[in-house]
């Protein structure tokens, strides 16, 4: 199953750099001239339209990296200067016609991407950088900031979600730290492959199947966060890093609660329980959970989104146990995987490519009454190929997605689990978020 499209046309790159250290042009590098957005990318274009209309949140996410030493920054900066991949990103334009499929066009204008250096910050995740929005109008898709906090060196990588997903972000860090070298044999595999033709009738059948699934799971009486304070604006963020011992205990706890493979369902169960206990009084929750659509066994494309979703409707009362929630999650996932729902959902998204973002926004908000989910969830585990000589710890910070204005992201690096919660201040106040966080930690680690 190939989900991602390009024209397949590659051009031989002519370097035209104004920077001091251009990429190594001795490597025969071939860069794609034109890459069409896939359905999942167009979904994020639609979210961008939503952001424009609501003037809330953003559609970018972050990878925050604590480096082992200050010298590590120099090594990474060398890669930044010499990377043909970053050169490509710095020189693309998003072409978004009213009629026709949007695409990225490589312009080869000699733009360079550099690391922005900052003075000391008093926050580990500086609000000043997080609120600095990448602009599609300026064709700004990726940014690297270096700063220190508490005497330690940090990097903040900011990714626009139209061009990257979480897995691609992890691979980008591997590339920057020398674990994913780019040469003429691997380069083309870092870009999405040509979309395979599918029978339109089958695509429409799949669309109807997914629509039915979404309507069944996202029906009335679903828990959403109400607006509590119209005077408050913007997003808040809170995080927690578990120790290695605590992470090992959480893994055991997941197994005790009937979750066999990985931590995903245990984490979602704990969030759902804490969400019901602290933030809402409605028992039914609608939770789409991301599903990695990449084929396994190769690094896969860094560029573009490859994520599908599995939709869960959970019945969570104050008395429902974590094990019971995990069983609901497992059963619903099994049913959807059996009928290939993630693939069908991608077919639905592919249709978004042929309509302008405003139209997709209109249709989506009409059918779901403007709701995206009770809360958003994502989880990533760093791969085996992390460069621990350069990188000490890393965190993924999710986008400030609105709606629903509440996202929890889990990330495991170096056997240590961490989570980030981003929340709309209109919906959740500081006291509530503290109670939610404490409850979530308690549920994850309770004996």
């Amino acid at each position: 199953m190939q989900l991602f499209s390009t024209t397949g046309k590659f051009i031989k790159k002519r370097y035209n750099h104004r920077g001091p250290s251009p990429p190594d042009s001795s490597i025969m590098t071939f860069l794609p001239k034109k890459i069409y957005l896939n359905g999942s990318d167009c979904f994020h274009l639609m979210l961008e339209k939503s952001r424009e209309l609501t003037r809330e949140g953003n559609n970018q996410f972050y990878l925050c990296v604590q480096l082992q030493t200050r010298e590590a920054l120099e090594t990474i900066e060398q890669t930044v200067q010499q990377s043909p991949l970053l050169d490509w990103i710095a020189n693309i334009r998003l072409i978004n016609p009213q009629i026709g499929v949007p695409f990225f066009r490589y312009m080869n204008q000699g733009n360079t991407l550099t690391v922005r250096h900052h003075e000391n910050f008093t926050e580990q995740f500086p609000a000043q950088l997080l609120n600095d929005t990448l602009s599609l109008k300026n064709n700004s898709f990726f940014r690297i900031d270096a700063y220190s906090f508490n005497g330690k060196q940090y990097l903040l990588l900011t990714f626009h979600h139209v061009l990257f997903d979480g897995k691609g972000a992890g691979m980008m860090l591997q590339h920057l730290t020398g674990q994913l070298p780019v040469d003429n044999t691997t380069f083309s595999s870092l870009f999405p492959q040509q979309l395979k033709w599918k029978n339109p009738l089958r695509q429409w059948q799949n669309l109807i199947r997914v629509k039915k699934q979404v309507e069944q799971t996202n029906k009335a009486e679903t828990a959403y966060l109400e607006v509590k304070n119209n005077r408050e604006t913007g997003f808040g963020m809170t995080s927690h890093l578990f120790s290695e011992e605590e992470t090992a205990f959480i893994r055991e706890n997941a197994i005790k609660n009937g979750v066999r493979f990985g931590l995903n369902f245990f984490q979602v169960a704990c969030i759902a329980k804490a969400f019901r206990t602290v933030l809402t009084e409605t028992d039914s929750q609608w939770v789409p959970i991301p599903y990695n659509g990449r084929k396994r066994g190769v690094p896969g494309a860094i560029i573009s989104n490859h994520t599908s979703f599995i939709f869960h409707r959970l019945n969570v009362t104050p008395e429902t146990s974590l094990r019971e929630i995990a069983v609901q999650l497992q059963q619903q996932m099994n049913e959807q995987l059996k009928c290939g729902l993630p693939e069908k959902y991608n077919d639905l998204l592919q249709l978004m490519r042929f309509f302008p973002a405003w139209f997709n926004h209109l249709v989506t908000t009409q059918s779901s009454k403007g709701k995206i989910a009770s809360f958003l969830y994502s989880s990533t585990e760093a791969g085996e190929k992390e460069n621990t000589e350069l990188v000490k710890q890393q965190w993924i910070l999710p986008p400030f997605s609105y709606p629903p204005g509440f996202t929890v992201n889990f990330y495991t690096y170096h056997n240590r689990l961490n989570f980030h919660i981003v929340f709309s201040r209109k919906h959740v106040d500081s006291e509530q978020i503290n109670t939610f966080k404490t409850t979530l930690i308690h549920l994850l680690t309770q004996k």
């Binding site: 990695n292 084929k295 066994g297 190769v298």
Partner: protein, 82 residues
């Protein structure tokens, strides 16, 4: 059915549905090293359920039983013996 038949069926399923083109898996390949994650393991379990009409009992659903294709095939083979 033999252990080898189970192994061959699972490898065919992985090659056609989970793995990228050209990725080679042997019965002894450690699945995690090829990027097979928890979702993919669940997909393998669902494939076994469909293919052999066998619902794997809860006590066998341990990560150590899903390290390689050979360990998964051994579960199925032992089921026949018992």
């Amino acid at each position: 059915m033999t252990q080898e038949t189970y192994e061959s069926d699972i490898i065919t399923f992985l090659t056609n549905n989970i793995l990228a083109e050209g990725v080679v898996v042997t019965p002894q390949t450690v699945l995690r090293e090829t990027g097979i994650d928890s979702y993919s393991i669940v997909e393998i379990i669902l494939f076994i359920e469909r293919q052999y009409n066998y619902v794997m009992p809860d006590h066998l659903l341990k990560s150590e039983n899903f390290v390689t294709v050979a360990t998964i095939a051994a579960l199925l083979n032992n089921r026949q013996i018992h």
